[in-house]
Amino acid sequence: MPTILVLDDSATMVMSLSHILKGAGYDVETGMNGREGITKLTDGIKPAVILTDLNMPELDGIGFIKEARKIASTRFTPIIVLTTESGGRKRDEARAAGASGWLTKPAEPNQLLSVVKQLCPTR
């Protein structure tokens, strides 16, 4: 099963995303901030898609994307930003850092799964 890496500082959001993605047939790895995400990647996790929040402590979403793009195995991995931010400036910043797509919360589960399935079909 393909693995999705989910990063969000809200435990409820992490659990909710995990539930939706596992129900759709994905393995899920999680982290509560960008630093934990980078640690997972350097530990050898090879996600097919990464979902990340923007506003997180220690290392935020933009910082995470920049660092993830420096790691050979995730240079081209799709990174979707899932955030309450819908502003153009933040979006441009994320795109410049290397984000592949953007979903604004509140998102529908189908919306989320449709994006993830396009990037990474389960079968």
Partner: protein
């Protein structure tokens, strides 16, 4: 503003910051979400179980050269459809609620930080906390829009 009035306002800010922080902690709904997800997982399991039971009874009927009960078969199919619909609705509800809950906590965080900065311990006398300082704490376009609407309404 006199020094005493300014000091009093900062004390009020400090107290309000603590109160909003306490309120934020009480917003924890993890148990509710866990129950929703467990219910959804249980429904999924029941649906699979109904399918297995039906397959087994069809197999037993073929071995015994009899026919499965058509009424039970129809009811099983209806139950599986209903379970799938309820499960989807529960998943949608849990996901949307989790996002709204997260957003509400982020707004509470923003209020706590703003109040703390306006409070006694954070602000030297004579300094101020401007609306631009507040805007720098926002995490969503909705917050910025609300901010702009208030500024506009107050004619500032």
């Amino acid at each position: 503003m006199g020094e005493t009035a300014e000091a009093n306002e900062r004390i009020v800010c400090a107290i309000l910051a603590e109160q909003v922080a306490a309120l934020r902690e009480r917003m924890d709904s993890t148990a509710t979400f866990e129950l929703l997800w467990r219910t959804s997982a249980l429904l999924s399991w029941l649906s699979g179980l109904l399918g297995d039971v039906s397959a087994q009874s069809a197999h037993a009927a073929s071995v015994n050269a009899s026919h499965p009960n058509p009424v039970l078969e129809r009811e099983r199919e209806e139950a599986i459809t209903e379970i799938a619909e309820i499960r989807r609705a529960l998943d949608d509800l849990a996901f949307l609620q989790a996002q709204r809950h997260d957003f509400a906590k982020q707004i509470a965080d923003c209020v706590v930080i703003a109040l703390e900065r306006m409070a006694v311990a954070e602000m030297p006398a004579g300094t101020s906390f401007s609306s631009a300082d507040l805007a720098a704490l926002y995490v969503s376009a909705d917050q910025r829009k609300l901010h702009d609407d208030v500024i506009h309404r107050l004619g500032l």
